[in-house]
Symmetry: C2
Subunit: 334 residues, 2 copies
């Protein structure tokens, strides 16, 4: 493989290989996680970056602007940080309508205010017509990790419960429908939203949360597989418990997609102490963005001398091994 493929950007195995083989060894990426966390003399910071290249730039439920703000906030939130500051870097294509830019910026401003973060520094570059696609946005973010927060793969143990905060697969299908001029009834709306208030509320439950992730590119399946690999434990989920909107299911059937691999932009996966799982679910369900929170499975010891797996007990009584997304299922989804 000597050329970049679209699949290198899809969040699956190709991207993982690119990171593992080329990017990570060259830099100082401490954890291959959504945010890096660093010790400053007196406070523990989280620092993250994401570029957004979603196509089309407007879709049901949002646009590239709130996606860029919420996505970076969420990368901070899932490592347990309180997001504080964002930067924004625009790469604009010559000919982009100023009104389009204004609308996107206004959405960004609104989303940042809603989440309680400040966009404090920025940069704008313009590329020739035909060398971009309207607008690409990078947001980077910093937050601080309150004392006492200790999350991470090292906390995950056999018996922990796997929680998803709400309905699966909405963002990817909303973007794909818009891109292809499809409409579903009822329409599928992107779940793009900031998760920092949700994460703060469940981190308040003492000893409950082991680790969190937001399953964007690559979907729930890829994130669960990453957690299984990193923890060297199995994850077993139950297909009947997966909260998938009927419209997403229908669209996926039509398009030959698997909702488990479809991107989410306002969804939280939490690995939770089994004794606290119901309390976490209760706290989540009180909040609008997580009113369908569900325990979808649990963490288990892998079979002796076997690799760690994600296994789904299917509706029809079978057992299916869930792997990472390979190649491109949905490109330019965020």
């Amino acid at each position: 493989m000597d050329k970049i493929l679209l699949g290198h950007g899809s969040g699956g195995t190709l991207m993982h290989r690119l990171i593992d083989e080329i990017t990570a060894p060259s830099f100082d990426m401490i954890e291959l996680n959504d945010s890096a966390t660093v010790n400053l003399p007196h406070s523990r910071l989280a620092f993250t970056t994401d570029s957004y290249v979603v196509s089309p730039i407007f879709f049901p439920g949002g646009n590239i602007g709130d996606l860029a703000v919420n996505g970076t906030i969420n990368d901070l939130a899932v490592v347990g940080a309180v997001p504080l500051f964002l930067s924004v870097g625009f790469i604009l294509e010559e000919g982009l309508k100023i009104d389009t830019l204004k609308e996107i910026i206004s959405t960004m401003s609104k989303s940042a205010k809603e989440a309680g973060v400040s966009i404090i520094t920025g940069d704008t570059k313009v590329v020739d017509k035909g060398k971009g696609d309207g607008i690409y946005i990078n947001t980077s973010g910093i937050g601080y990790i309150p004392d006492g927060i200790d999350l991470g793969i090292h906390k995950v143990k056999s018996g922990d419960k796997v929680i998803v905060s709400d309905m699966i697969g909405r963002h990817g299908i909303a973007v794909l429908a818009e891109r292809n001029g499809l409409s579903f009834e009822p329409p599928v709306i992107s779940d793009t939203t900031s998760l920092n208030k949700l994460t703060a509320s469940i981190l308040d439950i003492k000893g409950a949360i082991k680790m969190m992730r937001d399953p964007t590119r690559g979907g729930v399946a890829t994130t669960l597989k990453e957690i299984a690999l990193q923890s060297r434990l199995n994850i077993e989920i139950d297909e009947r418990l997966l909260p998938i909107p009927p419209a997403v299911n229908g669209a996926c059937e039509l398009l030959g997609l698997d909702p488990l691999y479809v991107a989410n932009e306002g969804l939280l996966i939490a690995i939770v102490d089994s004794k606290k799982a119901n309390e976490v679910i209760e706290v989540m369900r009180r909040q609008k963005i997580s009113k369908n929170a569900t325990i979808i499975g649990e963490v288990l010891e892998p079979q002796k001398n076997k690799d760690s797996l994600v296994i789904m007990n299917t509706t029809i009584g079978g057992r299916r091994v869930i792997d990472m997304l390979t190649g491109e299922q949905l490109t330019r989804i965020c």
Copy 2:
């Protein structure tokens, strides 16, 4: 003006208007400066972002990779910060050669090590062939501002000296020559380099440095005009003192460019207390990247009831008003 023009990315008046009218009012950009600085409970941080879209991606003296690392380090360094951590966000065009990416990443790694900063978090997106131009890179950076550092426009006073750290106009001409298949004898090599060791060394001279900037897009002229406007003071420079390599002068004549507006990527402009200016020059000249450091002019009171101006006393004895770059002189230069 309802569409984005290439000139919106050139660092001059168009970009300033875009920032002033659209971007800054929507966000929380505290200072329209290279880095935002923020108070955390126990330490003062600097935070900055820049996207790099230089074309071509390889040029004499560097490539988009060291440009992206050095540029963001320099944005931190000029606000007096000690750069600590960088993020990197790649936007790759489908079909980019993996070897090209590897070479760029290896350059980034080397530049970061040389400057003593760590690249700790990253993101990769891929766009379809024809929707990018090989590779775009965003780097964001955080650093801390040591106790006692107080720089900024509020410190600039009439009588202060204006210092440039080395030869002017090299990066822009190097890129332009490469883009257009021109070669000059001797060749013009980009000045891309990190300035953080240089800035640290002159900040050690007590009370010397009032403020610093790195004159990238828009060149020395645009940066001086920004300083004049923000300080409401005049700046008067002497054309005979400007350190311009003969090859840059020759190339500019040939291409109809003014070296004062050509981008630099390893140049420092410092506004310095007049009593300490010679000491600053001495310290600078001891370092390889600033061995041609020169006092090029000084800060003066503006004429009563007049706007603040940048004025150049020309070689032929005239006085020329220097304004910001308007529209595009050199696009995609960084």
